[in-house]
């Protein structure tokens, strides 16, 4: 019985069927309400010694360095590093919170300035909140045009990743 997984890297998502012999990947493309898988692409992945693995498909073999930590696989291949999120098949793994992510602190940080108040109309790229962490000022900017509907932080407050600092209506 193959193991079925969902894999996400950035905005790209795949479903995988993994057997003892190979990994079959189908890219998931968004089409209306239903995600449509494309035809499967087969890879053979085997250990290559040290930290390395070798992934082979019809086009040839690639050496890579890879490590899995909880649900994220870090893979360095061809001079690029990827962070692949692994989820059980069936569970909707695609992130639907990209704006939420954009409006949340990327790390524990201190709010040094709030540049907007609810009701403000902002343009993509406008500064919403200035944070500071690691001795650097980190701007949180509007991911697109819209109206600020709420501000959830105070100047001087220590804020944590995962919680939006500002709500925006993109209407």
């Amino acid at each position: 019985m193959p193991t079925r997984l969902r894999l996400i890297e950035g905005e790209q998502e795949w479903v995988a069927e993994v057997t003892a012999d190979d990994v079959r990947l189908s890219a998931v493309t968004e089409g209306g309400d239903r995600a449509t898988p494309t035809p499967a692409h087969s890879y053979v992945v085997r250990p290559g010694g040290d930290d390395e693995v070798v992934a082979e498909d019809a086009n040839g073999a690639q050496r890579a360095t890879a490590v899995l930590a909880s649900d994220i696989a870090w893979v360095s291949v061809g001079g690029q590093v990827f962070e692949v999120r692994v989820a059980p098949a069936g569970r909707a793994a695609r992130s639907s919170t990209r704006d939420h992510d954009a409006l949340a602190p990327p790390m524990s940080a201190t709010v040094v300035r709030i540049a907007v108040t609810p009701g403000d109309r902002v343009h993509q790229g406008d500064l919403l909140v200035a944070l500071e962490a690691m001795k650097m000022e980190l701007p949180i900017r509007a991911p697109r045009d819209g109206i600020v509907t709420a501000v959830h932080c105070r100047e001087g407050e220590l804020v944590q990743p995962g919680t939006a600092l500002v709500d925006m209506d993109h209407g």
Binding site: T3, L5, L7, E9, G10, Q12, W14, A16, V18, V23, L25, A27, H41, Y43, V45, D51, V53, A55, D57, N59, Q62, A64, T65, A66, V67, L68, A69, S70, I72, A73, W74, V75, S76, V77, G78, G79, Q80, V81, F82, E83, V84, V86, P106, M107, S108, A109, V112, R113, A130, E132, A133, M134, K135, M136, E137, L138, P161
Partner: protein
């Protein structure tokens, strides 16, 4: 006679100082915060003293705790590294009051130099061109605004107590003035505890060239040639090289002589760096301006060590101990070309520092490659300090060979578990403008979009296949570096992903 040195710093620079102390048979004392208890500099020192909680203000920036640690361990000298307390006159005075040798300029020199604005005035008086600017009559926003109007837009707002790119803001338009004053002030206050600002004309498209100088108490002063640090982002240096590739011999001579004049003007002792903006565009303006003087060892000192073959930390310790400089000007030459790049835990696309665990960490090694790092595999990069992971330094007979060597070394540097800027550095070094030396201090900002590596779809899908295989295989624990056996097993913490 210095026998035991307390290193009032962390990470790569603490390890760097320990290396030279060992070579000189000097005992070392490390200090550390709770966040750094298991880091390499703590293990490598002969003794280590915990300072307190992770925030720098409660540990590495806390003068009385550092002095107390030196007293308790019977250290006779303190090396401040860079950043933290390295340029803090109160710290130098506290060391002197406690009978400790401060490895750097004496407090009297720092007092004499006063603020950046005071040094600017002294340097201008000595006949070295300074960037045109104005010191506001008071720190009221209206007075700073008046100075900005006097200098004329665009300007650079700078912190009088500053350095390291903190508390600096470019102002191009009238409506940006208030916001820039406010954010520069805030950053200056948090970084240096001093929010005084001054105004300089913004000189764009210049090159940043700095001269390493060294002076002793006997009155000898030499220069160790220059470094070009033009490739910067947000006023933070990214790639540095020595010698500066665009200088004519005549201009090199004038710059090094100007740097020595600055050093003599302020009565400088120990290692220091005089920074200049070089603008050879002509138009009747001076072809270089004094920017500021840094009264410490620079982050990028290894490229000077590479081309001169000298150990700057050794000379710092000797001069601090009252000995004359171990080299004369005639002994110092340039051999080959060196380049350093700063490897940061940073999301290259969103330009945000990252924290997380180094699940795989393998440094490149080989002829002409030096890696100064403060980390080992398995270590957590925390939010508390600078996101520098390592400095990768190469040395080769020519600049072209140095770039090739650096690109190869970057390709063999493996860092997994945290986002970093290695691919960004590689893209930058491959630019034709870098090869032809037609970059300027705003080059990275102007070309950022082209320097961020877009994921290759085929590689990305291959990565997904590898991820699927790993996720369905038996777990293999992360190997701990031999020297990091004290760490928690990786399973208990797991990485944090932002």
């Amino acid at each position: 006679m210095i026998r035991r040195v307390l290193i009032a710093n962390r990470g790569e620079i603490a390890r760097r100082v320990i290396r030279t102390c060992r070579a000189m048979n000097i005992k070392t004392v490390a200090v550390f915060s709770e966040a750094d208890a298991d880091t390499p500099h703590v293990r490598e020192a002969d003794e280590a003293v915990g300072l307190g909680r992770a925030p720098a203000t409660e540990s590495y920036l806390n003068i009385s705790k550092v002095i107390d640690a030196a007293r308790r361990t019977a250290a006779d000298a303190v090396h401040p590294g860079y950043g933290f307390l390295s340029e803090n006159p109160a710290f130098v005075e506290a060391c002197e009051a406690a009978g400790l040798i401060f490895v750097g300029p004496p407090g009297s020199v720092l007092r004499e130099m006063g603020s950046k604005t005071g040094t600017r005035a002294a340097v201008a008086k000595a006949g070295v061109p300074v960037v045109p600017g104005a010191t506001p009559r008071s720190q009221e926003s209206s007075a700073i605004g008046a100075s900005i109007r006097e200098v004329g837009l665009p300007v650079m707002l700078k912190a009088s107590g500053g350095g390291g790119g903190k508390g600096m803001r470019i102002v191009r338009r009238q409506e940006e003035i208030d916001g820039a004053i406010e954010s520069a002030r805030g950053e200056a206050r948090r970084s240096f505890g001093n929010d005084a600002l001054y105004v300089e004309r913004l000189i764009e498209r210049a090159r940043h060239v700095e001269v390493q100088i060294f002076a002793d108490r006997q009155g000898n002063a030499v220069h160790l040639f220059e470094r070009d640090c033009t490739l910067q982002r947000r006023h933070q240096k990214v790639i540095e090289e020595a010698p500066a590739p665009t200088l004519t011999d005549a201009l090199r001579d004038r710059l090094t002589q100007a740097a020595l004049k600055v050093a003599r003007t302020v009565g400088y002792v120990n290692a220091g760096t005089v920074e200049f903006l070089v603008d050879e565009s002509g138009n009747g303006e001076p072809d270089f301006y004094f920017l500021e003087m840094n009264t410490r060892l620079q982050v990028e000192h290894p490229i000077t060590e590479a081309i001169t073959g000298l150990d700057l930390v050794r000379a710092q310790l000797q001069v601090a101990d009252g000995e004359p400089l171990p080299f004369r000007q005639a002994d110092i030459g340039i051999n080959g070309h060196a380049i350093e790049c700063r490897v940061y835990a940073e999301d290259p696309e969103r330009l945000l520092p990252q924290s997380g665990r180094l699940l795989r960490y393998r440094e490149p090694a080989g002829d002409g490659i030096r890696v100064d790092s403060g980390v080992v595999q398995g270590q957590q990069i925390t939010v508390h300090y600078d996101p520098l992971i390592a400095k990768l330094i190469v040395h080769a007979p020519t600049r072209t060979e140095a770039i090739d060597r650096l690109l190869d070394a970057i390709g063999r540097f493996t860092i997994l578990g945290i986002r970093h800027n290695l691919s960004f550095l590689s893209a930058l070094l491959r630019r034709a403008e870098v090869a032809s030396n037609t970059t300027h201090t705003r080059f990275i900002e102007e070309h950022l979009g082209e320097l961020v590596t877009r994921p290759d779809p085929a590689l990305r899908q291959t990565a997904a296949a590898i991820a699927a295989r790993l996720a369905t295989s038996e777990p293999v624990p992360v190997e701990q570096d031999q020297s990091t056996a004290a760490f928690d097993p990786w399973q208990t913490l797991g990485p944090v992903r932002w």
